[in-house]
């Protein structure tokens, strides 16, 4: 009897301990993007997607003192890019110095509901790569591969030039909370959009700490005629070249027939 009682106590203790060890259930993010497959058709000239979602809570979720903060990072297909700097040599401006950016997103957009530095402390923002200043942009520095400080002239010029083309953007008031837990943001895509898979990372913050994150993605694809031409050019270069040359000769011949005067 005593043994059974002891056993029951142990079981109860274990159960209690287990219960205490289970962390309070954090928030869950449920997100969706308005279109998971953007098709580039002959009349494509930019588009805007909408990302919307909600913060799910239950009774075990700890109470938060402040409002939620949200940072959405959209990164497009990766590419190697080189940034060159011109300098005056012998009276003319020539490219002298250059830095290579390795496997950096061809499209990068950061959306938040308020400035990044108000959402998270600098070290957390750096760790979580929040904002264009904190996203990792790997450079080849000599034989090393590393990111540099945000004020580095090459890095800032790179970000500035990409921003001018609408390929990089940071909008810290783009995310709007419709209710304290329901949010939406627009994702503008420029006309010169790179084709490929776009990853969306959504991070939820409360009181300066990361409480939940979620991921989703969308694709930008060429369809129909565009896809056919692009595939032909890539996979059957020789035939494509012969056909283009033949097309050139046909056009030239037709013009000489149409406009023939003698």
């Amino acid at each position: 009897m005593t043994l059974r009682a002891a056993l029951a106590t142990v079981v109860a203790a274990v159960a209690l301990g287990a219960g205490a060890l289970t962390p309070a259930r954090a928030e869950r993010l449920i997100v969706s993007v308005s279109n998971h497959r953007v098709t580039v058709t002959p009349n494509y000239s930019g588009e805007e997607l909408v990302l919307f979602g909600s913060v799910e809570r239950d009774d075990k979720t700890p109470a938060r003192t402040g409002n939620y903060d949200l940072v959405v990072t959209v990164s497009g297909p990766r590419a190697d890019l080189v940034t060159r700097r011109k300098e005056r040599r012998f009276g003319i401006w020539i490219n002298t110095d250059s830095r290579q950016f390795l496997q950096v997103p061809a499209y990068l957009a950061v959306f938040a509901n308020r400035p990044i530095d108000a959402i998270a402390p600098p070290d957390l923002a750096r760790r979580q790569q929040l904002g264009l200043n904190n996203v990792l942009l790997t450079q080849r520095v000599g034989t090393d591969y590393a990111d540099v400080v945000a004020t580095d002239p090459f890095r800032s010029a790179f970000v500035r030039l990409r921003t001018e083309h609408g390929l990089y953007r940071e909008a810290t008031s783009a995310v709007t909370f419709l209710t304290p837990t329901l949010f939406r943001t627009g994702i503008p895509l420029p006309a010169e959009v790179p084709i490929g898979t776009y990853d969306i990372e959504i991070k939820l913050f409360a009181d300066g700490a990361l409480v939940a994150k979620s991921e989703t993605a969308f694709d930008i694809v060429k369809v129909g005629f565009e896809q056919f031409i692009a595939n032909a050019a890539r996979n059957h270069g020789f035939i494509y070249g012969v056909l283009t040359a033949a097309m050139a000769l046909m056009t030239g011949w037709m013009a000489s027939v149409v406009f023939r005067r003698d």
Binding site: F158, Y240, M247, M254
Partner: protein, 308 residues
């Protein structure tokens, strides 16, 4: 009307490209040149990647020079033997040019080389042409006879061995300077992404002293073959020929070329040379200014491996 280009990956206004093709076509028909030195910078200005522009312009020049060559052929204004000899040098030159192009691109100074060669070549050729046209005009105004530029024409070129008779051009000339000319033009064309006839025509007229009647038609044949070759090469190696862009350019170009050719026949030879000289000079100066003036932005971004 906006249209998305499948290889250049940007939307463009069809009518703008069509108009650009027609304008350059008009100029090329008027002067009997390909017009690549005008078309390529224009396309880059609209926002098309330089490598795609160079590759697609090659097929556009092929179309307009074929249309031109056909009408010259009907008028028996092409010397087939001369064209073949030029081509033998031209093909080798093009291959060499593509090789050097790749080499320089790896060294990262291709942009500078292209800009410098544009400045030097265009200003020299344009300046000479302009000066020559101006002198001829003044001479006519003063009522002087235009001296037949035959005096002393039997220079060292005519003393070279391996002479050959070119029946239609009615000349008897060594093949060496012709092959060398083809080689140089093919090389320059491949490196600079131009047809090169604006250099070839003066060389043929003033240096080789080939009669004007067969010069333009024959140079068009050289341009046609080297540009078809270049289109194939670009399609196979870089996959950067945009067929849709090329088609729009061609349609505009061949139409413009017909009207240009008609306009060209109404203008006197020395006026034509003066105008062409001015045009070439203007493009050369534009490139020079770009090199000398402090650029608005010192930084540029390029995709590595993609654009030249």
């Amino acid at each position: 009307m906006q249209l998305y280009l499948p290889i250049a990956d940007i939307p463009v206004n069809v009518f703008l490209i069509l108009a650009m093709g027609a304008a350059v076509g008009f100029v090329s028909g008027m002067f009997g040149i390909g017009g690549g030195f005008l078309m390529t910078p224009l396309l880059i200005f609209v926002g098309i990647a330089p490598a795609v522009a160079v590759a697609s312009v090659a097929s556009h020049i092929a179309a307009s020079s074929f249309s031109g060559a056909l009408s010259y052929w009907r008028r028996r204004a092409i010397d087939p033997t001369l064209a073949l000899v030029l081509l033998s040098g031209g093909i080798v030159g093009t291959a060499l040019g593509v090789f050097v192009f790749t080499l320089l691109r790896n060294l990262g100074q291709l942009d500078l080389l292209i800009a410098l060669s544009y400045v030097i070549l265009l200003s020299t050729v344009g300046g000479l042409m302009f000066w020559e046209g101006l002198r001829a005009m003044l001479r006519i105004r003063r009522g002087e006879n235009i001296p037949l530029r035959r005096s002393g024409s039997h220079g060292w070129i005519h003393g070279l061995p391996l002479k050959m008779r070119f029946k239609r051009s009615k000349i008897y000339l060594s093949v060496i300077p012709i092959v060398v000319t083809g080689l140089v033009i093919g090389f320059i064309g491949a490196v600079m992404g131009i047809g090169g006839s604006f250099i070839l025509i003066p060389i043929m007229i003033y240096w080789l002293r080939i009669p004007t009647s067969t010069v333009i038609g024959t140079s068009m044949v050289l341009t046609l073959v080297t540009m078809v070759f270049a289109t194939l090469l670009h399609a196979v190696t870089n996959h950067l020929v945009d067929a849709v862009l090329a088609l729009i350019l061609m349609v505009g170009g061949v139409t413009g070329a017909q009207f240009g050719a008609r306009a060209g026949q109404k203008i006197r030879g020395e006026h034509l040379r003066l105008l062409l000289g001015l045009l070439i000079l203007a493009v050369g100066i534009r490139f020079a200014i770009e090199l000398v003036i402090r650029p608005e932005d010192l930084f540029t971004i390029r995709e590595t491996g993609g654009a030249g």
